[in-house]
């Protein structure tokens, strides 16, 4: 049942009061016309649908009949329209991989030999 809904039986499901709180958290905004509030809420619904369907279509989650976080962060990275989301949808990396990356960077910066076990202990302090 995939459709881009526009003004059917219910005008909008997202609560206008909450949308308004978010809009007003923006410092330069003084007042908001009722129609503008409605349109922002409706646009947000369309946005959610678009982000979800696009990510599903272009992602790998569908191999398991799912929409995954990875599908979303992939969209933010690859699709220009959604690039404004890149910072809040970062690609994920396993902690062990990240620690190895850090160790490699340390090693590359050092002239002498290193003791990997000691370095791991130091990392625990972080």
């Amino acid at each position: 049942a995939a459709r881009l809904s526009g003004g059917e039986s219910r005008p909008v499901s997202l609560p206008l009061s909450r949308i308004r709180v978010i809009m007003k958290s923006s410092p330069e905004v003084s007042s908001i016309n009722q129609d503008a509030l409605f349109l922002t809420a409706k646009a947000t619904e369309l946005f959610v649908q678009y982000l979800a369907s696009y990510s599903y279509k272009h992602g790998r989650g569908k191999e398991k009949n799912a929409l995954t976080y990875s599908d979303l962060s992939h969209t933010a990275e690859e699709c220009e329209t959604f690039q404004f989301l890149a910072d809040i949808l970062p690609k994920k990396i396993l902690a062990s991989k990240y620690l190895k990356m850090l160790e490699k960077e340390k090693r590359d910066g050092q002239v002498g030999e290193d003791d990997e076990e000691d370095e791991e202990e130091e990392d625990e302090d972080e």
Binding site: M23, V29, L39, L85
Partner: protein, 143 residues
């Protein structure tokens, strides 16, 4: 007014429903994905508001209106939203007008007076000019 962190989030149940409507039946949505989309939606509101506000400032207005939001959508490369938004807005405006009339009727009936409804229908033309800068209501929304 101080916003608590949860106020800047949108209700999970509603977000989930909207996502489900966009995907084929039976597709699973991980909690992480749902939470990420919810955050993305909040960011979208902020981005759209900021963009719309720029248009209002260009027009030397302090109040954001419908036209500003539609212009923001085009600017943000969401032109595909513009037509469905305009259609929704028409429906919404009609409903709001209907509610207003219902309230007026209630008040008048309470006073035991009959209202002449045919006069109201002549005002329909005003509502269809969506792009104009004249806002429907000048007052701020307090839900």
């Amino acid at each position: 007014m101080a916003e608590r962190p949860e106020d800047l989030n949108l209700p999970n149940a509603v977000i989930t429903r909207i996502i489900k409507e966009a995907l084929p039946d039976g597709v699973n949505i991980s909690k992480e994905a749902r939470s990420a989309i919810s955050r993305a939606a909040s960011v979208f509101v902020l981005y759209a508001t900021s963009c719309a506000n720029n248009f209002a400032m260009k027009g030397k207005r302090k109040m954001l209106n419908a036209g500003d939001v539609l212009s923001a959508m085009e600017e943000m490369e969401f032109q595909r939203f513009v037509t469905p938004l305009k259609e929704s807005l028409e429906v919404y405006r009609r409903e709001q007008k209907g509610k207003k009339e219902a309230r007026k009727d209630k008040d008048k009936k309470a006073d035991s007076e009959e209202q002449d409804k045919s006069r109201e229908e002549d005002n329909d033309d005003d509502d269809e000019r969506i792009e104009e800068e004249e806002p429907n209501e000048e007052e701020e929304v307090d839900n």
